[in-house]
């Protein structure tokens, strides 16, 4: 249930301070586009940011730089020594 990869935000609608507005983001992962709710996301994302999604709701957002660093992190780990991995 919890195996999440960050998904890229391609569109945002609604007003972060108004729960009655339709708080939605369109996200894209590997070419698949879908809508997710933004009602409970920690920081309101902008287009280009990434979000972690659970049961149709974004629960965490990351700026692009942070997300890309994290997405490639696991691959990068391969080239490092264990000491560096943990620093």
């Amino acid at each position: 249930m919890c195996l999440a990869i960050p998904m890229k935000v391609t569109a945002v609608q609604g007003n972060p301070d108004d729960f009655t507005s339709n708080q939605l983001a369109t996200v894209d992962a590997d070419g698949i586009s879908r809508d997710v709710r933004l009602d409970v996301v920690d920081y309101w994302p902008k287009v280009g940011d990434y979000v972690i999604i659970h049961a149709g709701f974004a629960i965490h957002s990351l700026v692009e730089e942070e997300a890309l660093k994290n997405i490639s992190l696991l691959q990068e780990l391969a080239d490092n020594t264990p000491e560096e991995l943990l620093s």
Partner: protein, 362 residues
């Protein structure tokens, strides 16, 4: 070290596996709290490469597994009420209560739909104005905010045929109950990834201090898991006990304020019945009186039945990390994923189903 060869090709994991071997200098028991971690650990074969002295036990973090028999029976009884249309997350469908399952209720005509999100349940309500749509809230901090947002949306959109039966549970409380149990010795916690997204990694700090318990928040990939285990072993080895977060792509130190506010608006703490653990004070969430129109227990006047656990099933002890499925005489005999006796065999995150899928000898 049985299957280390499998890791030889993986330049990614091998250095970490080696580092883990070197790091474990004294025996330690780590509890992985989250059912998704249990599955990820098995899927990645990590149990077979654990160093001598390191023991992993599963905890009470599979939401379906900790749902009490009495709640399951209430769910099934509710599904049988004419005009009620029950919506659930998929894992709940085949969990046996004392007298059948939601799957069986469905085959005798009860309306039971599996949804991906509570918002989908609200859409079903809008499309079926003659039915009362009940969403069964079975989950932890990760699912509660979305359910709260859905109730608020129902209110704002004046949808009157939607309500929630909340058995939502909150996480640090059952861990305290386990840590106070003298029979159980845990040195470290692999803290649940996405529960921590909501409550923040910092939420584990009081427990780390009070119980001198190594706490590491980890993700679900092989390298995430190995890193978390290495850090746990290091903490126990050095005695420098603290909370560390190796899952920063999903977890911050602080809690998610927007989600927390949403949850506090709709829910209040309540004593909650956990399978295996019994009633733990203030470890659950019920819908506040101001939103009682969206509370299925109020609307349908539900009284929880006194139910018994399935006979011979050890799920309760397994959820406490005290026994393993291997010790259950029914495991893989009477009880399989096709013919489950307890919830730990049904849920895709359950410990018994993990042992069944990935081999009992590990």
């Amino acid at each position: 070290m049985k299957h280390l060869d499998e890791y030889r090709d993986s330049s990614l994991a091998l250095p970490l596996v080696k580092e883990l071997q070197n790091t474990v200098t004294k025996p330690l028991t780590v509890m992985e709290v989250c059912g998704s971690h249990t599955m990820a650990i098995f899927r990645n074969g990590l149990r077979s490469i654990l160093p001598q002295g390191m023991k992993l036990v599963s905890g009470p973090g599979c939401p379906v597994c900790v749902t009490s028999a009495s709640h399951m029976d209430a769910f099934i009884a509710m599904a049988d009420i004419p005009g009620v249309h029950v919506t659930i997350f998929g894992d709940l469908f085949r969990v046996p209560g004392s007298t059948g399952s939601l799957a069986e209720a469905s085959s005798r005509g009860a309306k039971v739909d599996i949804v991906y999100s509570p918002m989908d349940a609200l859409d079903i309500a809008k499309n079926n104005p003659d039915e009362l749509i009940v969403f069964l809230g079975v989950g932890f901090e990760t699912t509660t905010p979305g359910i709260a947002a859905t109730i608020l949306a129902a209110k704002n959109q004046k949808v009157t045929n939607f309500c929630v039966f909340s058995t939502q549970k909150t996480m640090p409380a059952p861990m305290e109950a386990l840590l106070n149990d003298p029979d159980l010795k845990i040195d470290g916690l692999l803290c649940p990834g996405h529960v921590s997204t909501i409550i923040g990694a910092g939420a584990w700090e009081p427990m780390a201090k009070k119980y001198n318990l190594a706490c590491v928040v980890g993700g679900f990939e092989t390298a995430d898991l190995l890193k978390a285990l290495i850090l746990l072993a290091r903490q126990v080895g050095s005695g420098d006990i603290k909370v560390e977060n190796v899952y920063p792509r999903a977890v911050s130190w602080e809690r998610n304020e927007r989600a927390t506010k949403m949850v506090e608006e709709i829910f209040e703490p309540v004593d909650m019945d956990w399978r295996g653990l019994g009633i733990i004070p203030q470890s659950g969430l019920k819908i506040r009186a101001a939103y009682r129109d969206f509370d299925a227990e109020v609307r349908l006047d539900i009284v929880l039945p006194k139910s018994k656990e399935p006979r011979g099933c050890l799920c309760g002890e397994i959820l406490k990390g005290k026994q393993t499925p291997n010790e259950c005489p029914l495991f893989d005999r009477g009880c399989t994923p096709a013919t489950p006796i307890g919830p730990c065999m049904v849920s895709s995150e359950g410990t018994c189903s993990a042992y069944h899928k990935y081999g009992r000898d590990e």
